[in-house]
Assembly symmetry: C2
C-alpha cells in the first residue's frame, strides 16, 4: 500500500524558499500568485494491505522521524 | 484558490535521501517499509477562482520553474 506523508512548515514559520519561488513566478509573468509555501513529500510503500492501519503506521513514522513537530506539520494520505 | 504541486524524482532516478529514510525507519522498527521516495511539495495560493484555470496555470508554473523535467515528474492537485 502506498502512503504519502506531506510535511510542511507551520504557519508563522518563515519560508525563504517559498518567498524566492513567489518572486521568480512574478518575474515569469504569473502575477496571480499570492503566496507560496514549500514542503517535503515522502512516499512510502508499505507491506500492509489495510489502509487504516497503513495510515496509522505512517502517522507514527512521521512523528518519530519524518517531521520536526516544533516547526513542521504533516498530513498522511493514502495514495490513489 | 489553493493549488498543490507535488514534484518527485522519476522512476529509475536514484534517491539517496529516500534510501536513508528507509534504513532509518527499519532501525526504528518499522519493518513493513518496502521503499521510500522523497520529493517536494509547493503550495500555491492563486488569485483565481476557477479551479480548472488555476490547475492549468499551476501546470505551466511547474513546467517553467518548479520541476526539472529531465529527472522529475510533477502532479497538480487542487487543495481541499
Amino acid at each position: 500500500m502506498k502512503v504519502r506523508v506531506i510535511v510542511s512548515l507551520k504557519e508563522g514559520v518563515l519560508d525563504p524558499q517559498g518567498k524566492a519561488i513567489n518572486h521568480a513566478l512574478h518575474v515569469l509573468e504569473f502575477p496571480e500568485v499570492c503566496e507560496v509555501r514549500t514542503g517535503k513529500v515522502i512516499e512510502l510503500d508499505l507491506d500492509e494491505e489495510n489502509p487504516q492501519r497503513a495510515a496509522q503506521r505512517a502517522h507514527k513514522m512521521a512523528e518519530s522521524l519524518l517531521a520536526n513537530q516544533v516547526i513542521e506539520d504533516f498530513i498522511v494520505e493514502i495514495a490513489k
